[in-house]
Structure formats: C-alpha cells, structure tokens
Amino acid sequence: MFATKRLSKELLKMQDHVPPGISIVKSDNLEEWHMDIQVLDSNPLYQNQIYRLKFTFNSKYPIEPPEVQFIELPSTSETPRPIPIHPHIYSNGIICLDLLSSAGWSPVQTVESVCMSIQSMLTANSRNERPPGDSDFVSYNRRRPRDINFYYDDDDV
C-alpha cells in the first residue's frame, strides 16, 4: 500500500519531467519498471549507447531498496540494449553499488535518483573492464541481487 502510493506519485512526477538521458520504458504495473539510461558526456566507453535498467520493487519500498540490474536485449532486436562494461557491473547485469544494498539505501532515494547515480557511475569510469572474477560469478551465481553480499571496497567510482 505504502509502496504503490509512493510509486504512483513518483510516476506522476516523472511523466511530467525526467532528467536528460533517462526515460521510462515500462511502468504499467507498480512492481517492475524498465528504464532506459544514457551517458550524456563524451565518455568513449559509453558514447551513443542506451542501456536498460530493470527495477523490481517489493511492498516495503521505499523503506527497503528496489532490486536494480541491467538487462540485455540482443543486438539483433529493434532496440539493442547491451550491458555496459564497468568494473562494478557484472556481465549478467548485476550492479555492485552500495546505494542499492540495504545498508547503503536510504528511503529518500527515488527511481530517478538511482538512475542518476548509475548514470554518474558510468560517466566517471574510464576502465574498460569487468569486475574481477566476473566469469565465475556469472556462471555460478543463481542468487538474486538482494541476497548477495558485496564488499564495497572501492570508494572512488
């Protein structure tokens, strides 16, 4: 109840105005939203690319964080959406960002602010690499993002 009210208010506001580089793709139910984000400056790693984020909300949002990850649409589809290369983004789309953990989350955050955080995380990156142990993690991980304990060791990205 709390979550749906808050989400419908956020949706109303975002339909009115979204920050540049962010757009709503799917928000027809109040449990899963899809957003497209784009890096606006001329970072050669992400230039002219659009990435798709999937938000999954539970009934305790915004007290509890939403699950956020990148999803991939194959390059043959009408709207190709790759997974961005970043030392904190696994190639299955899972993002290691302390903002999205229950310890780093704050109920003040919104879908919009999360998108903007991820946008700036991409903007600030210059390393063309996946996180260490990416292939192992991707092939063995069957857990959902919220059940994974990340160590947030890198403070400068």
């Binding site: 208010k9 305790k60 704050s106 003040v108």
Partner: protein, 437 residues
C-alpha cells in the same frame, strides 16, 4: 525525545486515526519542499531531526525500525548524519501550509463532492460528511450504509422490497430513488414528438419517432440539412450530394489504398537507406584501414605502437594513448627514484669527506705538536754549539776569514768548504729524520 518514545507515540496515533491522509486525493498541487522525502506526501505530523531535516512521524518510524544497525546507528535518511534525538517541535508555518492543501473528501466515490483543506478532513468525515459509510444499525445485517441514509428510528435499510410496478427487488434505502426516477415502468414523454411512452420503450421510440431531427445521409460530404425523419426522404431525393455519394465512396477507397502503398514504400525506402548507410560505413572503414597500411609500410623502422595507432580506429587509438600515458607514468616514477638515489649518494659522500677531513686535521695537529717539540729539542741541542761557535769564529778571525762566519750563522750557504759549515747541516738533517718518525 528519543526513538523509543517515538515508536510508542506512533502506535497510539495509529489507533485513533480514521482517515489515512496519505491515500487522499490531493486536488491542489503542492510545493516539493512540503513533501516528505520518504512518502512524497505533504508532511503528516512532521518531526525534526538534529540535522534539521523533517519527515513524517510514521515514515521516520518505519525507517528507524528497518535500519540495519538498529536504533543506535540510525542516520538521517537525507544527509546520513548520525542522529539520536528528534524534536516534535517544527515551525507552525510548515504545519499550517501542509494542512491548508486542498483534498477531496475520502468518500468522493460514494458521492461526496466536498473539497476541503486537509486539516479539516478528520472533522469533516467525523461530523459532517453524509456519505461516510457506517455499519448498519441492525445487528443481523453486515452491510454498510451511508450516514445520511440512516433514519431516525435506526432500522436496517437493506431489506429488499418489490417494486409494485416493475416487479424488481430493490433495497429499502434505494426504493425512493427507484420509484421516482429509475423504475422502467414509469411513463415519460418523448423530447421530440411529446407523446408519452414507457421509460423502457423510450430508446426504441426515439429511433422510429417521425418528429426526431435527423441529418441528411450525405452530411459527411458536407450537406448541412437537418430535418425531421418524416421529411428526410423527400430531401434525399433532391439532395445533389446524395447522388454524388457513390463517386465519393470510390474516391475515398482509392485514396486509402494509395496511402497504404505509400506507407509500404516508405518502409522499404527506410530499409534501403539503412543498408546503404551500412555499406558506406564498411567502405569507409576499409579505406581507412588501407590508408593506415600505406602510411606504415614505407617506414618499417617506426616503433611498433606508432604503426598500431595508424592501423586501428578510435578505440585502438585511445588504447595506445592510455598505454603511452602509463609508460609516461612509469618513466616518471623511475626518474623520481633515481633522483632520490642521487641525493642519497651525495649526502653520503659529503659525510665521508667531512670525516676524512676531520681525521687529517687531527693528524696535522699531532704532527705540528711533534714538530714543535722537536724544534725545542733541536734548539736545546744547538744552544751549546752556538755558544762554542763564537769561540771558534774568534779563533778563525785570526786567519782573517770573515765570510765563513756569516755563512755558518745562516747555515744555508752550500758554498763554503769550511768544516764549521757541515755540522749545523747534519744537525738539521737529523731533525728532519725525527719528524718523519
């Protein structure tokens, strides 16, 4: 006030609240600053933290109870500054502004049209709203009834009554309305021909009523005529647009099919353009690769990263730049290390030199002292000889050789073959041997 007291207070509030202010329909738009950052509603019973951030009491409470580190580690959701105390005292202005926002009555679905300031919703619902649903006064009935429908003697209004005319079963609370307005057996008058018909037959009647105003069949082609149904057929016989009708129809269908083909062609055109762009880009790439190769071919002595830079496109060039940058960085580091080593060596050398100097100085002082003492000894040894010499000189003066006396006293002249000269020289030689020891 601390967090435990807040939780207790929140529980007490929850019990005696009828209207959920968060689910109200806010009519007027409100400023973002009046909005609780957690629930995005205008503040409801705002509280303030030490850092001056304001939240709804309920929102803050749920944020605290879900805080992973417990109450002791709770930080302000907005600024993350650790906080232990909160204040119920917020500016009256803030509360007033939030309470002044207009909302719809929560029973607007039941028919209440009131729009009231939010601060008055509670009292409106409690005392004035006639559409508020209350439990039916009858104990056996579990339905709800609108407050205004309650009658004085508190009977249940949900018993079914049969309408005497249409034989439909209607609840008592709706009976009056049914009888006066909705019952299909009621008679009504046609708005066009003013004949009286049954309500349930009205729709059929309007479709056939000869008095009803109808448009000409050619109205979509621009015929402005509106006449009664009875006169319509005479008009249609003379209407020029009706005769044109079939022709217009044919034209319309042709236009439609043309539009369809145009759309098809546009799509195909787009496909072709895409293909062309693809071909152009591949061509461009291949020419670029060719030119890159011709540039590198004449100069095989070029360093390897030069040729790779020319070969590849932007991605590779950025790679080369980063490589060069890293090379530069490592060289800089090496230079730094070298300069360090040099200064270290310098310091060490100067230290060694200084040590050596000190030692030599000391040695020299020793030597000086030895020389001084030996001089004293020589002086002492020479003294008796010097006393003897004037006597001998006195003897030689008898020979008339004054020159040898002068040379003997100076002890420098090698010229004199006199025996008196040899003695002091030997003495001085012995002194020199002493210093060497």
């Amino acid at each position: 006030m601390n967090f435990e007291e807040l939780c207790a207070m929140e529980a007490a509030y929850d019990r005696d609240e009828i209207v959920d202010l968060r689910s109200l329909d806010y009519v007027s738009s409100y400023d973002d600053h009046l909005m609780c950052p957690i629930c995005h509603c205008p503040f409801i019973r705002p509280v303030r933290l030490q850092c001056d951030h304001v939240f709804c009491q309920k929102c803050l409470n749920s944020a605290i109870t879900s805080c992973a580190g417990g109450r002791d580690e709770f930080t302000c959701p907005s600024c993350r500054s650790p906080t232990r105390d909160l204040y119920l005292h917020v500016p009256r202005l803030l509360i007033n502004m939030c309470d002044d926002i207009r909302v719809k009555c929560p029973f607007s679905a039941e028919g209440c049209t009131e729009i009231i300031p939010r601060g008055h919703v509670q009292s409106h619902v409690e005392k004035y709203c006639g559409y508020r649903l209350v439990h039916c006064p009858s104990l056996v009935c579990d339905k709800k009834t609108r407050k205004k429908d309650l009658n004085a003697d508190k009977r249940c209004m949900h018993e079914l009554h049969q309408c005497s005319r249409c034989e439909e079963e209607v609840m008592e609370q709706d009976y009056e309305e049914h009888v006066q307005e909705l019952c299909p057996s009621l008679k009504t008058t046609c708005p066009d021909c003013h004949t009286t018909v049954f309500r349930k037959a009205l729709r059929e009647h309007i479709e056939t009523c000869p008095e009803a105003i109808h448009c000409c069949a050619a109205s979509k082609y621009g015929c402005p005529v509106k006449v009664k149904r009875a006169e319509l057929s005479t008009h249609e016989k003379s209407c020029p647009l009706i005769t044109m009708g079939p022709y217009f129809e044919a034209q319309n269908s042709r236009l439609d099919s043309m539009e369809l083909t145009v759309r098809h062609l546009q799509q195909r055109n787009e496909l072709f353009e895409d293909g062309l762009a693809g071909i152009r880009s591949t061509l461009l790439e291949s020419t670029r690769a060719m030119t890159g190769r011709t540039v590198t071919d004449p100069g095989p002595s070029n360093p390897p990263d030069d040729s790779s830079q020319a070969d590849s496109a932007n991605a590779a060039s950025s790679n080369a730049t980063t490589y060069l940058l890293s090379l530069h960085e490592s060289l800089r580091e090496e230079v730094g290390q070298l300069s360090h080593a040099v200064t270290d060596l310098d310091a060490r050398a100067s230290m060694a030199i200084m040590n050596e100097c000190l030692r030599i100085k000391e040695d020299m002082a020793h030597t000086n002292a030895a020389v001084g003492s030996i001089r004293m000894q020589v002086q002492w040894l020479m003294n008796p000889r010097l006393h003897q010499q004037p006597q001998r000189a006195g003897m030689r003066n008898g020979n008339g050789n004054s020159e040898s006396a002068a040379a003997g006293s100076s002890s420098a002249g090698p010229s004199g073959p006199s025996p008196g000269l040899l003695r002091p020289r030997r003495l001085s030689d012995g002194g020199r041997e002493g210093t060497k020891l």
